[in-house]
């Protein structure tokens, strides 16, 4: 059944790595305009889900389907997925020595524009836009000319992820523990950056360990992942409940 409102639809997903089942009976639907949060203790499978959606290799999908913008996501390569409009904010962004941040940003933007049959971005316009967005995120301009993430602080790396997100304007942004390691000020900046990316035509999936981020980014739905299963879903008040009661309150899956 086609529903142009649905950005992401996961049905009956079961994923293993080697012999071990990491995710099972997973169902999730994200519609345009929505922000969902996935919370859960360490080892619950949150990052596996994020990486799988971004098409990282090494996961064995034993069962289930995933549709992204009405395409079979599992048949797409990482770059195809990205060009279609999927963005992953990495938990631990890597360094790319020798490649300046600005060159990387421009190459990524042009790759996606090319997939959309658009001409490469004008260099002067691009520089102006990037500097504006960096100013909003309070990123020093010199980070543009350093190799990607090279010598960046933890907070700067996370903000660099959000900078990329705001440049590439994805239809689906999956943010994997973007809040981890951030102090309050950085958290506020990052949250503002994410909130500014909300749109009626796009969806955001926040993967987080702590409820703190959700004080700044109000989710439409909160899901709890435990030992690979989605054991609970609810509205934003679920996050508050979890905070006060802890993950063990959730107990054994029903």
């Amino acid at each position: 059944m086609s529903n142009s409102n649905v950005i992401l639809s996961i049905q009956d997903l079961q994923v293993s790595v080697g012999e071990k089942i990491i995710l099972q009976d997973l169902n999730l639907t994200l519609k345009a305009g929505e922000v969902h949060a996935i919370m859960g203790p360490n080892g619950s499978g949150k990052s596996t889900l994020a990486n799988l959606l971004a098409r990282k290799e090494g996961y064995n999908v034993q069962q289930g389907t995933i549709r992204f913008l009405e395409q079979d996501l599992l048949s797409l390569s990482p770059e195809d997925c990205a060009c279609l409009g999927l963005f992953l904010g990495f938990q631990y962004p890597v360094t790319i020595p020798g490649v300046s941040n600005i060159h990387f940003l421009k190459s990524a933007l042009n790759a996606i524009r090319k997939a959309q049959h658009l001409p490469p971005v004008d260099a002067v316009d691009f520089l102006k836009i990037v500097k504006e967005k960096m100013a909003v995120l309070k990123m020093p301009e010199e980070l543009l000319y350093r190799p990607v993430n090279d010598g960046f602080s933890g907070g700067e790396k996370k903000r660099n992820e959000i900078l990329q997100m705001s440049l590439l304007e994805p239809k689906l942004a999956i943010l994997d523990e973007t809040d981890s390691g951030l102090d309050i000020d950085a958290l506020k900046l990052v949250s503002e950056g994410i909130n500014s990316q909300r749109g009626a035509d796009r969806a955001i999936l926040l993967i987080t360990h702590y409820q703190r981020l959700l004080d700044y980014i109000e989710p439409d739905q909160v899901h709890v992942l435990s030992e690979g299963k989605m054991i609970l879903s609810g509205d934003k008040s679920l996050a508050k409940t979890l905070e006060s009661k802890g993950y063990c309150w959730v107990g054994e899956p029903a």
Partner: protein
């Protein structure tokens, strides 16, 4: 090479390579042995070029022509930098060389254009034992380009060339090479052996010689472009990118010999090992007892792509004067799966991702190449690493 009538008769795979390297159609014809149309005859271009040089007193011709027309110069300088006793392959070259290039820049003349072997008349085929001699008189300068990015095949497997450069007072010689000889097949069969002796002599005060090379071809490369820093205040530079893929082996580096006072040398070597390629940097920095205030900076970086390649370094520092300042830095890195995934997740395909990372790695050396060569070299790097991540 067989004479063909049109590019349609050339192996399409070869044409595809030329396209990727951005080689213009006319050049493609020359390289694949297709007769060149009279209208686009490159000989006429070369003729105008030669006229300009002649006005300035610059001699740029084949070695055999130089022997005929300028024997006194040949006699004065030939073998003074690389004597036949130097090494086995230099000896072989001295015994049997038939041709090569000769270049002479008179006093005070700055050669106004980059000299390339392409413009030498009758440069259609490259000999096995080429001999090149470049002489830069007092206060002159020249930039010389050797080679091309197009994959070159030859029925002869051994290439043992000799290049001698001589720079007199305040003269500058810049010698750039892009080498893409047939590297052998994926299993390492066939392929050219590239055993070259290249040496520059900074004979004059404040003279300088700079070697820049991009080596992506050949099955085995043994090559150590060196500079003898005899004149006081002279400078030697060596910038190198060596790529080995499949079963190639590259053993390359330089020797900087500090003899005069206040001499400086800079070594920047980038090695990339992909497939089962083995890359070795072999360098010598030697400071003689009377060489006061010698300075050397060496940076030697290796990049590994995949799990099977090897990077080795053999830096030797032999200092006999305690006023010398020698610096050495070395790094070894990998293109990790995570880096590749990061790039791909941002929309870049695997090939473009590797190309971007490799170009970033090689940037410092690419910046030393003359412009046209730099653009071709970047494309060549990408091409030589195709299929390196399976």
């Amino acid at each position: 090479m067989p004479k063909l009538n049109s590019l349609d008769e050339v192996d399409p795979a070869i044409l595809k390579t030329y396209e990727k390297l951005g080689i213009p159609l006319n050049e493609q014809k020359r390289l694949s042995g297709v007769a060149i149309d009279a209208v686009f005859d490159s000989v006429s271009v070369a003729t105008t070029f030669k006229e300009k040089l002649r006005e300035l007193g610059i001699i740029f011709c084949s070695f055999s022509e130089a022997v005929r027309e300028h024997p006194e110069l040949i006699q004065q300088y030939l073998g003074t930098v690389v004597p036949y006793t130097d090494n086995f392959f230099a000896c072989l070259n001295a015994a049997v060389f038939s041709d090569g290039s000769f270049c002479y820049i008179p006093k005070g003349v700055r050669c106004p254009m980059e000299l390339s072997t392409y413009f030498r008349i009758n440069a259609a085929s490259t000999g096995q034992f080429e001999r090149t001699l470049i002489i830069a008189e007092k206060n002159s300068s020249v930039s010389y380009l050797e080679g091309c990015t197009a994959p070159m095949r030859d029925e002869n497997q051994l290439h043992a060339a000799v290049v001698e450069l001589i720079a007199l007072d305040q003269a500058k010689i810049k010698y750039s090479t892009v080498q893409n000889w047939y590297p052998g097949d994926k299993e390492g069969r066939g392929g050219i052996y590239n055993f070259v002796t290249k040496r520059g002599l900074c004979r004059g005060r404040e003279s300088s010689i700079s070697w820049t090379q991009v080596e992506t071809g050949s099955a085995i490369t043994w090559k150590y472009p060196s500079v003898i820093l005899q004149g006081a205040g002279s400078r030697g530079e060596f910038y190198s990118i060596a790529v080995t893929n499949n079963h190639q082996q590259a053993d390359t580096g330089t020797k900087m010999i500090h003899i005069g006072a206040n001499t400086k040398s800079t070594i920047l070597s980038k090695g990339i090992s992909a497939g089962h390629g083995q890359n070795a940097y072999r360098g010598l920095v030697q400071v003689h007892p009377k060489a006061e205030n010698a300075q050397n900076y060496t940076q030697c970086d290796s990049l590994l792509i995949g799990e099977q390649g090897g990077a080795h370094t053999f830096p030797k520092v032999d200092v006999k004067n305690k006023t010398a300042k020698i610096e050495h830095e070395a790094t070894t890195s990998k293109i990790s799966e995570d880096q590749l995934f990061y790039c791909r997740q941002r929309g870049l395909n695997t090939e473009d991702s590797i190309s971007m990372i490799v170009n970033g790695f090689c940037k410092q050396v690419l910046n030393e190449l003359p412009m046209e060569f730099a653009v071709e070299a970047q494309k060549l790097l990408a091409l030589s690493l195709e299929g390196s991540i399976g």
